[in-house]
């Protein structure tokens, strides 16, 4: 009982400031819109956005499903590819030396400009370019992290395995892979929100008009700001969903592990 009370207290202590801050922020926003009589084409009140969100919920959910599916497919594909590639790279030093600088370079580049190119490669009516785009972004994040996890193993562990006359495969299975798993989850935490954002940005260059990104720009272009921001709210929720999912995954993985 006591313990429950305590954990409830700390939970409240953690969440309450965020709730209070959020409420204050929204309150100020609402007040500012009212007080300065800001016109809806300029800035809409949170209440109007919420109204639109509720009203258009089925549409928003539909659009979020499309963008979310793109993000999810890209996330999964990018993760699988990234993990596979990091295995290959950790095995073949030379490839690593070639791929890593390329990965680092591509990471610094605003790769979303490739969407237009991918659209032309794969057809603009297809969701594939967007998914490839997401996968590409996720791939590099996962690759860099997991490769680090596979190589940064404790030298004591490796020596121990060698003292057992263990093969490279055994070392991979028993030392490197378990060691890389936390790195994978850390990378997912970065990659999950990045996947969602990339999915929106990819819609920016054209293609099917069924995702959140295209709905947002179309509504705002038509001065339907409240509706546009209702979709933005949907986008935030989708991003949060992905982020929370990765945090939960990491938490699950951390159970039964140190720190």
């Amino acid at each position: 009982m006591n313990k429950f009370g305590g954990s409830l207290g700390t939970w409240l202590g953690k969440v309450l400031p965020a709730v209070v801050f959020g409420a204050l922020f929204l309150g100020f926003w609402e007040w500012a819109v009212k007080f300065f009589e800001l016109k809806p084409y300029f800035l809409t009140a949170p209440s109007a956005i919420w109204e639109q969100f509720v009203k258009n919920f089925p549409l928003i959910r539909g659009a979020a499903t499309v963008s979310g599916t793109n993000a999810l497919v890209g996330l999964v594909a990018g993760t699988v590819l990234g993990v596979a590639m990091s295995f290959v790279l950790s095995r073949f030093k030379f490839l690593n030396q070639i791929i890593t600088p390329l990965a680092v370079a591509l990471n610094a580049v605003p790769i979303f400009v490739l969407v237009a190119v991918l659209n032309n490669m794969y057809s603009i009516t297809s969701e594939v370019p967007r998914r490839i785009m997401v996968a590409l972004v996720v791939y590099f994040i996962v690759l860099v992290n997991v490769a680090r996890g596979l190589t940064q193993v404790s030298s004591t562990h490796v020596e121990l395995m060698r003292s057992y006359a263990a093969s490279d495969v055994a070392i991979l299975r028993k030392v490197r892979i378990p060691n890389a798993i936390p790195f994978l989850f850390v990378s997912l935490k970065i990659a999950a929100p990045a996947a969602v954002i990339t999915a929106f940005v990819s819609e920016y260059f054209g293609g099917s008009q069924n995702g959140l990104g295209s709905r947002i720009s179309s509504n705002i272009a038509n001065s339907k700001n409240a509706a546009g921001w209702a979709y933005v709210l949907g986008a935030c929720l989708l991003g949060l969903l992905f982020y929370s999912f990765s945090v939960v995954m990491e938490g699950l993985n951390r159970k039964g592990r140190a720190r």
């Binding site: 070639i98 580049v109 989708l238």
Partner: protein, 293 residues
């Protein structure tokens, strides 16, 4: 120093090899791949090889030498270069702005746990707001700002959007870094009866630097992305983002040309990252190698 130069040279060489490899793969696929791409279960998973989809690499590079519009003596190369330079300056401005905001936020959050708990979740949320929704707002509001003779120059909107993307990794990285000072060092400062600000300057910032550097690197590329998107979005003229969209409009007639702008964007991103790395090497020159991650 010599070892450093040698390593840099080796890395450059490796990078060039990697690029060459990409070119070879591109051209090989273009030569051998199916013109209409490869489909699996009705979904095209292999790209098409038409001129529209995959122009020849030499076509892309040959465009650099051409005049931008017929009759003008300004080459595409000159345009791309000046566009990249323009966007570079905006990105630097955005990066600096984002850096100041990010570090400032991190310091406040490190100082007041309550602020951290209240604000941090919204920083995550803020990054999921698509730039396209924000761009018109920033432009409109910026246009309204007028302090005496100072008006809001239009490019500042792009830099602000760059800063919007850049501040987040910087704030998070710095926050982590500020918390990274070893307990013993913190106690040491306490034993000197050092004030909070003294502790910040003499201990916390120096220990945070190894965490801040990768954060700044992320921030730098985020700032580039923000600026390029903002240029497209707000129609700001002179930068690489604008060039991308202008050349993209010509893709119907000249699919290779847009790649020159894409290469320009790549060079821009690399330059930004390079600047951060150079600053990193400079700042960390007196630190043990292991602490650089």
């Amino acid at each position: 120093m010599i070892a450093l130069a040698r390593r840099a040279a080796y890395r450059t060489a490796m990078f060039l090899v990697a690029l060459a490899l990409v070119v070879v793969i591109w051209e090989t696929y273009k030569a051998l791949g199916p013109v209409d791409g490869g489909k699996l279960l009705g979904v095209r998973i292999l790209p098409r090889t038409s001129e529209y989809a995959m122009p020849h690499v030499w076509d892309m590079f040959s465009r650099f030498g051409r005049p931008e519009v017929r009759g003008s003596d300004r080459t595409v190369f000159a345009s791309v270069l000046s566009g990249a330079w323009f966007s570079f300056r905006l990105s630097v401005a955005g990066f600096v702005l984002g850096g100041v905001i990010g570090v400032g936020l991190a310091v406040v959050m490190a100082r007041f746990k309550l602020v951290q708990r209240g604000v941090l979740p919204y920083l995550v949320v803020s990054q999921t707001v698509p730039l396209i929704a924000l761009a018109p707002l920033v432009v409109s509001w910026g246009g309204k700002l007028e302090v005496g003779p100072l008006v809001w120059p239009r490019w500042l909107s792009a830099s602000v959007l760059g800063a919007f993307l850049a501040f987040f990794p910087i704030a998070v990285g710095t926050l982590r870094g500020l918390a990274a000072a070893p307990a013993a060092s913190v106690e040491l400062m306490q034993s000197y009866a050092a004030s909070w600000s003294k502790t910040l300057v003499k201990l916390k910032f120096p220990t945070a630097i190894p965490y801040m550097v990768p954060a700044f690197r992320l921030g730098a590329s985020a700032s580039v992305i923000g600026v390029v998107v903002a240029e497209i979005s707000t129609g700001l003229k002179g930068g690489i983002g604008r060039l991308i969209i202008e050349y993209a409009r010509e893709a119907t007639g000249d699919p290779a040309k847009v790649y020159t702008a894409i290469f320009g964007a790549a060079a821009l991103g690399l330059t930004m990252a390079g600047v951060v790395v150079a600053v990193d090497v400079f700042v960390m020159r007196n630190r043990p190698k292991e602490s650089i991650t």
